[in-house]
Amino acid sequence: MLEIKQLHKSYAIGDSSLHVLKGIDLSVAQGEMVAIMGSSGSGKSTLLNIIGMLDEADEGDYILDQVPIKNLTEKKAAIYRNKFLGFIFQSFNLINYKNALENVALPLYYQGLKRKERQEKARFHLQKVGLLDWETHLPSELSGGQKQRVAIARALASDPKLLLADEPTGALDTTTSYDIMAFLQQLNDEGKTILIVTHEEDIAAMCKRIVRLRDGVIMEDKKVTQVRAELHV
């Protein structure tokens, strides 16, 4: 469902240029749960940005669900992001003046859905993450784990093909982290394709496949036996 071939990306720094991605080949099938690991500067964030259509590659192909992602206008990128992708961030990135329900409903607003339909769908996803009782609460009234659950509900709201998680447990304690991972695993069990950028080995081990990056190339790409998070909670 995701096909990347010979991806190159450089950033200009002053007169010289920094070659960040040096020919990445990656293919992810439907239903996979992939951890992208690497130290800072390895290019993992750049790779996630390109997959998330927040940045464009200099060279190489990127095909998502049979749609070639190339030369996108900002507007088209926005539409594709809304349709194909759900983002989960380290710092949750909820809009602080909107309550849980409104946050979850926001991607649906950008899809152009009617208010009633938006609220219905948002409630469904809030219920899925177990926070329906908290729908009128502002992010500041929620715990870290709850915020990340709201963020996951928001990422799921537009029913994306691919969930992109950038250090989703980075701001959480271990118990809550495993709790969130258990939920992501459950989503994956239901068939969602999930890509997680992390530098924590235990989190990576809870995925089904680990891709290790170093200096802009893939060092290692192996399937692993998934550690079920619920066993640790």
Binding site: K75, I95, Y110
Partner: protein, 409 residues
Amino acid sequence: MFDIDFWREIFQSINKNRTRSLLSGFTVTFAILLFTILFGLANGLSNTFAEAFVDDAANAVFIRSGATTKAYKGMQAGRRIQFRNEDYKYIKTDFDDNVEFITSRIYKNVAASFRNEKNNYSLRAVHPDHQYLEKTKVYKGRYINQRDMDIKTKVVVIGKLVKEDLFLKVDPLGKYINLSGIPYKVVGVFADDGGDDEERLLYMPLSTAQQVYGNNDYVDQINLTYKPELDFNQAIDFGLDLEKKLKERFLVAPNDQRAVRVFNMAMQNKGITQMTSVLGIIILIIGMGTLIAGIVGISNIMIFIVKERTKEIGIRKALGASPKSIVAIILIESIFITSIAGYFGLLLGVGILEWAGPSLKTYFITNPSVSTSLVISATLTLIGAGTLAGYLPAKKASKIKPIVALRDD
């Protein structure tokens, strides 16, 4: 197209970020308030000046005569100078380039009566041009015209108060008023901003008066207005030249202050007009200054707001907001706040002027007010400035990569 969801987003954002909304609103309200009050006070000051000169035309010149005080060219001191119709014609023809309206005047006091009502009034016998010189407002009938002059008709134009005194509720037009035994037909009624004294008067054709009272061609005074295109210095020169020529004509010593007196409004008006124009410049500077302060304020706030919302923008973009919708939501919000706040400032300012206006009369400020269109354009300027100041950072923010915006914490 009215998009209720878009406006819901905006109202939620305004409502949930009250400090921010109030801050930007306050800047605009305050700027417009100051602008309104300063302009209003300055206008009040100009009104005071304007009001002081409503009676006569601002470009008037009055020429009067008296007795000589100095012997000159073989003539004794103490000789009376008497203007005649030929002097009127001389000024009218020889100074044609500079004269706009000109009239002679004869003063008489008359006992007037209509039916049983009687009173004494001043009478002015004049040329038709007098109407423009004195700013006489004929609101009923007509003024003296050239035909009256030519055939010496026995007609009068009466002041509003004369009409009220003598005619009570009768329509005076076409009625005959008795002036010291001679009946005159009333052809018009006038009002004058100069006050009660100016409305307790009668006007009569000059030629008629000359025939009736003495059968001569004497005139007591000659009034004229110089052409409005003359500037003050030209007008003053014209007045001095006129005075010099008239003194020569009557063999009056050039330094004789009494025999021929030319009073030129340009002399007084020069100072006042200079002051008014300086005042105008000060008003303009103050207004501009207030507006610029407002523009700087709203621009700063807009830049701050966009900075503050960078993260939110990143989130919205990651969720599928197009750059256009990002720019729109920021700008419409600020335009909305600015408009409401500007309108509020306008109401407040006008209210304060209205409330304080009457008590300011003692400080030479008459009827302080501003034209609504002026304040609206000031508000629009602020909105425009806020939009421009918000647009650039909003545009920039809409181009930030969401990941960059989001990581920035």
